[in-house]
C-alpha cells in the first residue's frame, strides 16, 4: 500500500478533529481516533519510525486544517502513553518508533507460536524470530529488533523465556519455557 491509496477514516475530513477539544470526554474520543489513525497509517504503509516534523498526517489540505505544534505534541504524548509508540530520542522527541503491536501483545504472540511449533525448551535466535522460515504470517515477522527485545523482556519477566548473548545481537538466543 502506498500513501496515495491509503484510506483515511471519516474523522480526518471533520475539521474540528484538527483542534484539540477543550471538553474532556470529546477530547478522549478525538485522541483515540488519532491514535488509531497514526497506528493504521504506519502499519499499512510499513513505516517503522514516525518523524514528527515530517509526518504528513498533521495537515489535511483538502479541508484546510492542520494541527499546530502544541497540538501535535499533545497527540504524540497520548500516542506514546498508550504504548503504541516509543521515543528514539526521549530528550528531543523528534523520532518515534511505532510499536505496531504492543510489546505485551507481541510477547503473547511469540509464546503462542513457540508452543505451537515445539520451541518450548529449545533455542532459537532473534534473527529467526523476525526473519526465519517458520514465522510466515506471524505478527512479529519483520518486526523491528528493538520491539522484539521489548517483547522478549516481557516474557522474561513472566519467566517464560531467557535471552542469552550470541556473537552478534541477531544471534542472541532465546529459550522458551
Amino acid at each position: 500500500m502506498t500513501a496515495e491509496n491509503f484510506e483515511y477514516p471519516d474523522f480526518y475530513q471533520f475539521p474540528p478533529s484538527f483542534t484539540i477539544q477543550p471538553v474532556l470526554a470529546t477530547r478522549e474520543k478525538q485522541l483515540a481516533l488519532w491514535r488509531e489513525l497514526i497506528l493504521k497509517y504506519h502499519t499499512d504503509l510499513r513505516i517503522k519510525t514516525l518523524v514528527v516534523h515530517e509526518c504528513p498526517l498533521w495537515k489535511n489540505e483538502t479541508i484546510g486544517r492542520e494541527l499546530n505544534e502544541a497540538e501535535v505534541n499533545a497527540v504524540m504524548e497520548d500516542f506514546c502513553k498508550s504504548g503504541h509508540g516509543e521515543w528514539e530520542d526521549p530528550g528531543t522527541k523528534t523520532r518515534c518508533r511505532i510499536l505496531w503491536r504492543k510489546p505485551e501483545q507481541l510477547a503473547s504472540d511469540l509464546y503462542d507460536w513457540a508452543e505451537k511449533n515445539g520451541f518450548i525448551n529449545s533455542v532459537c535466535t532473534v534473527y529467526e524470530l523476525h526473519s526465519g522460515e517458520d514465522v510466515n504470517g506471524m505478527s512479529f515477522q519483520g518486526a523491528d529488533e528493538q520491539l522484539l527485545r521489548r517483547a522478549l523482556a516481557v516474557l522474561e519477566s513472566q519467566g517464560r523465556c531467557t535471552v542469552f548473548k550470541g556473537e552478534t545481537s541477531s544471534e542472541d538466543g532465546i529459550k522458551f519455557f
Partner: protein, 275 residues
C-alpha cells in the same frame, strides 16, 4: 314543639332509596340515576365498538399480513390506522394480536434494541444525538435483518425511518431515556438525559439548515438567526459543547466554528473507534 328532625322529615317524605328530597331537590337523584344508566350503556357500547374495530383491524391485518411485514410504507399506514382507535398491534400482551400472528411486535422490539446499540456506540462522537436517517444508514450498511416472531417466520430487511421512529417511541414508553426530537425538518434521536431546551434546539436547527455551511455555526451565525445577545448564544453553545453534541473548530485569525456531528453532511460511516 320542636321542629321535626331531619331524620323524621326523611321518614315522612318517603323518597326512593333513602335520599332526602322535597320538590326540586327530589328530582336531582333521579337525574343522577339516569345519567349513571346512560353512562353505563354508552360505555358498554363503546367497548363493543372498540372490540368490533379491533376485530376488523385484525381481519385486515390477516389479509394483508405479507404487505405489512415487507412494505414499510404500507406498515406505517396500517399503524396510523390503528393508533387513533386506541388499538396497539405492537402491544406485548398475549392473546388477541398474538393470535393474528402478524409478528411485527417482535420486529419492532428487535429494531429498538439495534437502534439503541447504534445510538450508544455513536455517543462518544455525537454526544448522544443522532438523526434517524443516520441510524437507518448504519443499520442498512451492516446488513441488519430482523426476524418476525417465530410463529410467522421470515425476515424483515426493508425498514423505513418511520419504523425506527416507532421503535424509539416504544423505547420511550419503557422509560429508557430515549426520545425523538425535531430539529427543523429532521427527526433526531436523543439517547442521553440532557435537557435540551428551546435555545439548544434552535441552535441545532440553524446548524441543520441546508446550504454550504450545513453542520456548523459561528456565534455570529446564531445571533443573526435569532437576534439573541452574545451571552445567550454562548450559553447555548457551551452546553452543546460540554455535552459533546458540538465540537469546536479553532483557526488562527478566524471566528471559531461549532460543528455538529449529528448534522454534518459528510457523515461518519467509519467513525466508530475500535477502542
Amino acid at each position: 314543639n320542636k321542629p321535626p328532625t331531619r331524620k323524621q322529615t326523611r321518614l315522612t317524605e318517603m323518597p326512593r332509596r333513602g335520599r332526602i328530597g322535597v320538590g326540586r331537590a327530589s328530582a336531582a337523584p333521579r337525574f343522577t340515576e339516569k345519567a349513571e344508566e346512560m353512562k353505563a350503556v354508552s360505555l358498554q357500547s363503546a367497548m363493543e365498538t372498540v372490540q368490533k374495530l379491533e376485530t376488523k383491524l385484525a381481519d385486515f391485518s390477516k389479509k394483508h399480513k405479507h404487505e405489512i411485514q415487507t412494505d414499510p410504507a404500507f406498515r406505517a399506514k396500517f399503524l396510523q390506522m390503528c393508533a387513533p382507535l386506541g388499538v396497539d398491534p405492537l402491544s406485548s400482551k398475549k392473546g388477541f394480536w398474538e393470535k393474528v400472528g402478524l409478528g411485527i411486535g417482535e420486529f419492532y422490539y428487535e429494531l429498538a434494541v439495534k437502534v439503541a446499540e447504534v445510538c450508544l456506540a455513536s455517543r462518544s462522537r455525537n454526544g448522544g444525538i443522532i438523526s434517524v436517517s443516520e441510524v437507518r444508514r448504519i443499520l442498512m450498511k451492516r446488513g441488519t435483518k430482523f426476524k418476525l416472531s417465530s410463529s410467522t417466520g421470515g425476515k424483515v430487511d426493508k425498514y423505513s425511518r418511520d419504523d425506527i421512529i416507532t421503535a424509539v417511541e416504544k423505547l420511550s414508553k419503557l422509560g429508557s431515556g430515549f426520545r425523538t426530537v425535531h430539529v427543523g425538518s429532521t427527526v433526531m434521536i436523543v439517547s442521553v438525559p440532557t435537557e435540551l431546551n428551546n435555545d439548544h434546539m434552535e441552535v441545532m436547527r440553524i446548524a441543520n439548515e441546508d446550504g454550504p455551511n450545513k453542520g456548523r455555526v459561528t456565534v455570529i451565525d446564531v445571533q443573526r438567526g435569532t437576534e439573541w445577545n452574545e451571552d445567550r448564544v454562548r450559553r447555548a453553545l457551551d452546553l452543546l459543547l460540554s455535552e459533546g453534541m458540538a465540537w469546536i473548530d479553532i483557526q488562527k485569525g478566524k471566528n471559531s466554528f461549532f460543528w455538529f456531528p449529528s448534522v454534518w453532511k459528510e457523515g461518519f460511516d467509519s467513525f466508530e473507534s475500535e477502542e
